[in-house]
């Protein structure tokens, strides 16, 4: 692991930005820089899943990554004009639930890990998910919810996606609150979790298989 990754794992913003600036100054390939920063972020995710880091550290690592990326991205555009994203994820909190926090964390982490994220916001009706899938053609749909009552709503939303003939085109992941504790077979999703980093890892695995 390089200095940049190590500094991200240490959550040391000054060291991260210092390493990025030094890399840019010495003409290091900006793709290499961003990948190294991502490696650090992934490592933070692993530590989170092991219970050594907590949600606050996960969020902090993403914030530092974003600052680093804001320095690196203009260089990438200069050198490569365009960058391929890992995939496209449509995400939203389901109808009847206005909780934003968990969804916001997952959306931020996905962006940092190189995904294009379309964040629909909170309290999103089933038909809006359907329409937005048609509009954006994502590979993955993420639904969030904190309330116990959001679980059947997630099932209804999947059903609406099925009825629109779109279910075969997307993987569906649900997360938040007690979602990971409930059997998901009834609601027809591909994965359910209460752990933000596990969700990111599952989505990355899906994209690798595509």
């Amino acid at each position: 692991m390089g200095k940049l990754s190590e500094a991200i794992v240490a959550l040391n913003k000054e060291r991260v930005l210092g390493a990025v600036k030094a890399g840019i100054k010495s003409n290091t390939d900006p793709i290499q820089l961003i990948e190294e920063a991502r490696e650090g972020l992934e490592r933070v995710g692993e530590e989170f899943e092991k219970g050594n880091y907590f949600l606050m550290e996960l969020m902090r690592a993403a914030q530092i990554f974003k600052e680093a990326a804001s320095l690196i991205n203009p260089k990438i555009q200069e050198c490569y004009e365009d960058v391929t994203m890992k995939g496209k994820v449509l995400i939203g909190t389901v109808s009847g639930d206005v909780h934003d926090l968990g969804k916001g964390i997952v959306a931020t982490l996905l962006k940092c890990r190189g995904f294009e994220v379309i964040d629909l916001g909170v309290d999103i009706p089933e038909q809006v998910f359907v329409e937005k899938i048609k509009e954006h053609d994502p590979q993955v749909v993420g639904m969030s919810g904190l309330l116990t009552t959001s679980i059947p709503v997630m099932g209804k939303t999947v059903k609406a996606i099925e009825e629109a003939g779109l279910r075969g085109r997307v993987k569906v992941i649900v997360g938040g609150g007690v979602v990971g504790e409930v059997p998901t077979s009834d609601i027809g999703v591909d994965h359910a979790t209460s752990n933000a980093n596990e969700g990111i890892r599952v989505i990355e695995d899906w994209m690798k298989k595509e």
Partner: protein
């Protein structure tokens, strides 16, 4: 089976770390009381007598726990007291007529309300209370409306609950409610900005937590006095909410540095003024149990309870058993989606792990969801009788 103690005596024995006739049981019932009692959320929030009548009906369906939560939220949610309040600031206060799917229950309101800590510390909480982001309706309400909810409604509310307690001999879970400053500030600021603050301006966060504390506790004590503390059993208890203050949200180090000082100080303030502190936690507090061991330091016995959500209860009993009464933790998901047999097995294990020697109340993790299966809540209450005899 004949019960030799009153509900309040049973609860008090647990707080005092003594064995009662049996393990007390107290699901933290909130919206389920209105739902199973057949009233709307609007009625729950505006018609106290109808609400307490609904509680009686609900208890027939979901079983009779040893206490009920009077939902202090509804005591002064439309009052204009200068409270910093979790209720005022962090909830999306749409009061619905119906439960889902036609309506909903009030939910968290997650957005950045505090732009500048210094401004709030200098000018006080009115800057929050009159913030248009959170109090749009404040500007549309009539003077009569203000006066009613400020002075009359809380009294009507407390009177209805006093009547309920006296007629049914069911004590209250709480008389007032406060929130730990760390959590309040987190919600005021929004999670992303708050995380940044913890790392970039930690002293400002600590100052703000100190600033919030006294105001928050005193407001809760005032609520408890209105509810009849000293006369109405249970009204002397302050529900001190410490939600997202432990793993997996924050590390034990952040807990110790940022949360613990005001948590301990708040508990001391409550107890030293003659009240009792029911500290409600979410998440898994297992890694910080050694710190929580000092929660009763310098305080008389029987004044503090720790309420756990995902914490390892067996471990909590081991670490805290001789210090403080523990409360928990039948999972919300089990009450909604599990079977009565699964709930019964869970309760039996909890009782086996935690009941010995007293100091344990069988309860829900966080609250009983409004859509919990009535038969599951009932089996929880029956389990205390079946497995919890001392």
């Amino acid at each position: 089976m004949k019960e030799s103690l009153s509900r309040y005596e049973r609860i008090e024995a647990a707080w005092n770390l003594e064995e009662a006739d049996r393990v007390p049981v107290s699901p933290l019932n909130c919206y389920i009381l209105a739902y199973q009692g057949g009233i709307s959320i609007r009625e729950m929030f505006h018609e106290p007598e109808k609400f307490t009548e609904a509680v009686v009906k609900a208890r027939e369906k979901i079983g009779e726990g040893d206490q009920e939560d009077p939902n202090i939220t509804t005591l002064d949610h439309l009052s204009l007291r200068p409270k910093s309040g979790w209720d005022q600031v962090t909830l999306d206060w749409r009061i619905w007529d119906q439960f889902p799917p036609e309506g909903n229950i009030p939910s968290f309101f997650e957005k950045c309300i505090i732009e500048d800590y210094d401004d709030v510390m200098e000018r006080g909480f009115s800057t929050l209370l009159f913030n248009k982001k959170i109090g749009k309706d404040v500007f549309n309400r009539s003077l009569e409306d203000f006066l009613y909810y400020e002075f009359e409604y809380p009294e009507i509310y407390a009177k209805a609950w006093r009547k309920f307690v006296e007629e049914h001999e069911v004590p209250l879970i709480m008389g007032g409610r406060a929130t730990i400053p760390f959590e309040l500030v987190l919600y005021y600021r929004g999670f992303a900005k708050f995380v940044q603050d913890i790392f970039e301006q930690p002293d400002k966060v600590k100052d703000m937590c100190e600033f919030v504390l006294e105001h928050e506790i005193l407001n809760a004590l005032k609520q408890a006095m209105i509810m009849g503390a000293g006369e109405v059993p249970g009204a002397e208890k302050i529900f001190f909410q410490a939600g997202v203050v432990g793993p997996p949200y924050i590390s034990p180090e952040v807990f110790e540095e940022f949360v613990w000082p005001t948590l301990k100080k708040g508990v001391d303030m409550i107890v030293k003024r003659g009240f009792k502190a029911h500290v409600h936690t979410d998440g898994d507090m297992t890694p910080v149990l050694p710190v929580l061991k000092d929660i009763t330091k310098g305080l008389p016995k029987g004044k503090v309870l720790l309420d756990f959500e995902k914490t390892d209860m067996k471990k909590a009993k081991e670490v805290l058993g001789d210090k403080v009464c523990i409360w928990g933790n039948v999972p919300a998901s089990l009450l909604c989606y599990g079977t009565p047999t699964e709930v019964e097995e869970y309760c039996q294990k909890l009782i086996n792990d935690c009941a010995e020697g007293g100091g344990f109340i069988l309860a829900t993790e966080c609250e009983t969801p409004w859509n919990a299966k009535p038969e599951n809540v009932r089996v929880m209450i029956d389990s205390a009788i079946k497995y919890g005899q001392y």
